[in-house]
């Protein structure tokens, strides 16, 4: 397993996909942070960790998207370029390949989460400093939220990995997943009362403990379980499809 993980890690490091998604996470969070802080105004100058919560929400949002894309691409890049064949020739145990991909994509997703938090926090500090205030971000609450955002990154990478294993076609998988996140989840929430809070996007918000526009959320622990459940479901179906299917 160690060898397989090392191979997956080398795959991530030797193309621009990982670096590109890291840069995109920083850029997306920075852009969002700039807008959010602008809206919040100088009141932030008295801020504590709690007042910085929208930044965490923002980080969660950008990480959800990009970690999912990272997970999807860890499979679909290989399908698209034909490298899945040598991968499976080197490691015929397909579950082991999936396990190694989960380990590496999950870790990378967590790193994207940390990058998003770091970017958001840096923006908030600069913003409050330039407005004559001081953002107090120390303490356990901040640390817990940081870990949670990293965990959300890992979970979305796992969900993406499962989607990639199920769909295989890169464009279809990414476009489909983004349409779900941006359109379908809202649509379901609008059509069926009380369902929205159980969907993956809302579950991640619930785990962090906040929502955009005060939408109804489940308890953080339930959010964590839902998110883990969606990751397990996606990975489970995807792994079975890879194990049972033919690579032709």
């Amino acid at each position: 397993m160690k060898d397989t993980i090392r191979a997956e890690w080398r795959k991530l490091r030797t193309t621009r996909t990982g670096k590109g998604l890291l840069a995109a996470t920083v850029a997306l969070t920075a852009l969002g942070a700039w807008g959010t802080l602008h809206e919040m105004g100088p009141a932030t100058s008295t801020a504590s960790t709690i007042a910085a919560l929208p930044l965490f929400l923002l980080a969660t949002w950008s990480v959800s998207i990009l970690a999912m894309v990272l997970g999807i691409r860890s499979v679909t890049d290989e399908v698209r370029h034909g490298s899945l064949v040598p991968t499976l020739l080197a490691t015929p145990d397909r579950r082991r390949v999936v396990g190694a991909k989960l380990a590496v994509a999950g870790a990378a997703g967590a790193v994207l989460g940390l990058a998003a938090i770091a970017t958001g926090t840096a923006f908030a500090m600069i913003w409050t400093a330039t407005h004559g205030g001081m953002l107090a971000l120390g303490g356990t609450a901040f640390a817990i939220l940081t870990v949670k955002v990293a965990a959300v990154g890992a979970a979305w990478a796992a969900i993406g990995l499962g989607i990639g294993l199920i769909v295989r076609h890169q464009v279809a998988a990414i476009v489909g997943a983004l349409v779900y996140l941006f359109v379908v989840e809202d649509l379901i929430g609008g059509l069926f009362d009380g369902v929205a809070k159980f969907l993956p996007g809302s579950a991640a918000d619930a785990f962090i403990g906040m929502s955009a526009g005060g939408a109804e959320l489940v308890a953080p622990v339930v959010g964590a379980m839902l998110l883990a459940g969606y990751a397990a479901l996606s990975m489970g179906v995807g792994t079975e499809r890879l194990v049972r299917g033919d690579i032709s």
Partner: protein
């Protein structure tokens, strides 16, 4: 470097087949791609795997390598299913597709990824790059490689584990004449070393010079298996001509042969010049020509596959 690789191999008895396929069958829905195919690939020999496009060659190779699940039957590599091999890259090196790498990854990094997966020392990467004469391009993105360079990169990947068996699907595609000769020498040397080579190809003239044994398949079924020599010998023809053509034909038919009119003479299968000469002598028929035409593997192949189409 390479000696350490020999230690962990499955201990199949010396001389036992490197690959055994037993009643391999693969159906995709209503289509039967491979139909009850059985064969053996022996160490120390190059085995050519021939068949028209769509005959089921690639599907068969993928079943041997655990990529496609057989509907029925089984395949064993060094005595066990490919999936059960402890260190598959040290057992089998395979090239199945021309493109099997991320185009933005360098050739060297592509091999380093596979070396990591196979638990193979990174030093081996530069060694195989030199073997396939790709060292100069190792730092370039593989997407910019020519077709021939891609084939060489695929071969480098196959050679990484210093395997006992090579399985190659149409490896000569995209190689120039020098490249084809280089590949032939490489594969001959590999077999001479006591290892097994299974190579599919539609370049039959090339296979004539390369293979010791051939397996000919069509419509997923085995049409003929044997050594190249036996296969071409079995299809050898004798051409015979005489000023007394009618008498010659009668004598040949009386001897149980089926002469086919061919210009001013006849072509006769299933016999040899000695026997034909004796028949003519006994019948008192003068001969103006007596020669053998040894068919190429291509002739045999076309005959076999045309027959199976009828």
């Amino acid at each position: 470097m390479t000696t350490a690789l020999d230690t962990a191999m499955p201990t199949a008895p010396v001389g036992s087949p490197a690959i055994v396929a037993r009643d391999l069958t693969k159906r995709f829905g209503d289509v039967t791609a491979v139909d009850g195919l059985s064969f053996e690939v022996l160490p120390g020999r190059v085995t050519g795997f021939l068949g028209p496009n769509g005959a089921g060659k690639s599907t068969t190779l993928r079943m041997i390598l655990g990529l496609v699940h057989p509907t029925e039957g089984s395949a064993a590599v060094l005595g066990m299913p490919y999936e059960s091999l402890d260190e598959p890259m040290r057992a089998v090196g395979a090239v199945l597709e021309t493109q099997s790498f991320h185009p933005l990854r360098t050739g060297r990094n592509h091999l380093r990824v596979l070396a990591a997966a196979g638990g193979i020392d990174d030093a081996r990467v530069d060694h195989v790059l030199a073997t396939v004469d790709l060292s100069h391009a190792a730092g370039r993105k593989a997407g910019g490689y020519s077709l021939g360079m891609r084939q060489r990169l695929g071969l480098a990947a196959a050679l990484l584990g210093d395997p006992r068996i090579l399985v190659l699907d149409e490896p000569a595609n995209g190689l120039d004449p020098q490249g084809i000769r280089w590949l032939r020498d490489l594969l001959r040397g590999f077999a001479a070393d006591g290892r097994a080579v299974l190579v599919s190809s539609h370049l039959l003239a090339e296979m004539d010079q390369l293979a010791d044994d051939v397996i000919v398949i069509d419509h997923g079924r085995s049409v003929r298996q044997g050594t190249v020599r036996d296969l071409t010998a079995a299809s050898a023809r004798v051409r015979v001509a005489s000023p007394a053509a009618d008498e010659l034909a009668r004598a040949l038919r009386a001897a149980g042969l089926s002469p086919i009119a061919d210009g001013d003479g006849f072509t006769v299968a299933g016999t040899d010049p000695d026997r034909l000469g004796a028949i003519a002598r006994d019948a008192g028929v003068p001969l103006s020509e007596l020669s053998t035409s040894a068919p190429t593997l291509e002739d045999v192949f076309l005959e076999l596959t045309e027959r199976s189409h009828r």
